[in-house]
Amino acid sequence: MSQQVEAGEAEELHSHPEPRQYIKVAIFLAVVTAVEVAIYYVSALRALLVPILIVLAVIKFLFVARWFMHLRFDSKIFQRFFVTGVLLAMTVFAVVLLFYFTHGGPAPVAR
């Protein structure tokens, strides 16, 4: 049993990417960040700004989690722990929004 565990963990360590692949991912993330900031200043995209920004943030989130945190290579159990946390956080957001619209919330002051 312990040999199986050791073999499994050794395989896990060897399945991690090479430094060159990490650098490629980092360059991609830097480019996505630059695109995020650039489109923030494009007035023609103002109507689509929010959905575009959310999609780009999700892409960055997934790349960091899957490549740098190794969720792409590690056991699915770790992925479940993390996804459960993210889903719970989104549930909290949804419940608060529900209360906001049904019971009222903080009134923004006009500027």
Binding site: L29, L53, V96, G105
Partner: protein, 204 residues
């Protein structure tokens, strides 16, 4: 020590019924709970982001310096690269390389926190404080807690370097570097969300 020996040495820490390292499992459970923590703070900010009383200071979004925060975001993003390179060095048994990359990560973290302190000082001078309005409270609590997490991460990185230099972190102990790396990448991921939701998405 060769890469293979380092990998083998790092496998002899725990033997568990799942075949997975308990400390790594615990770290992922902790990070899952941290998602809930930051999710709550982000939700609160979204609800209160425009809630200010007359003459109680500016709405945060009116005084954001997007180019400045973009550079800070880039710095934190690149610290994830140096962190993962530290882990890669550690897994190969290259302890000197690991220490260099860990110090680079800590330096980038210090740059980020320093930038955040400068930003906070600027905002306070503009009239936005923790107690000036619900919007100010929500902003400072969210970004302040994130900054505190980065600061804790820096301390852990420097501890790893200190342990390595004093011989308490032997080649092959890649698991410790991996666990602290997970925490560091999580802090980066949270900033990815904060940068988009708090700074870039405009107030309608």
């Amino acid at each position: 020590m060769s890469a293979q020996e380092a990998a083998q040495a790092s496998t002899q820490e725990h033997h568990t019924s799942t075949g997975l390292d308990n400390t790594k499992m615990a770290m992922w459970a902790f990070l899952g709970s941290e998602c809930l923590f930051f999710g709550s703070l982000i939700t609160t900010y979204l609800l209160y982001r425009s809630t200010v009383l007359p003459d109680s200071g500016p709405v945060p979004s009116e005084i954001y310096d997007i180019p400045y925060t973009s550079v800070s975001s880039f710095v934190l993003l690149m610290s994830s690269l140096t962190m993962v390179l530290a882990l890669s060095s550690s897994q190969r048994g290259d302890m000197r390389g690991m220490r260099i990359w860990l110090l680079a990560t800590a330096l980038l973290g210090v740059t980020f926190v320093g930038g955040q302190i400068f930003e906070f000082t600027d905002f306070v001078e503009e009239g936005l404080t923790l107690g000036s309005s619900p919007a100010g409270s929500a902003f400072f609590v969210l970004t302040g807690f994130h900054g505190a997490h980065v600061s804790v991460g820096i301390l852990m990185l420097l501890s790893l370097v200190g342990m390595s230099m004093s011989g308490k972190l032997q080649p092959g102990a890649a698991r410790k570097v991996e666990l602290i790396g997970l925490y560091w990448h999580f802090v980066d991921i949270v900033w990815v969300v904060i940068f988009t939701v708090v700074y870039l998405i405009p107030l309608e």
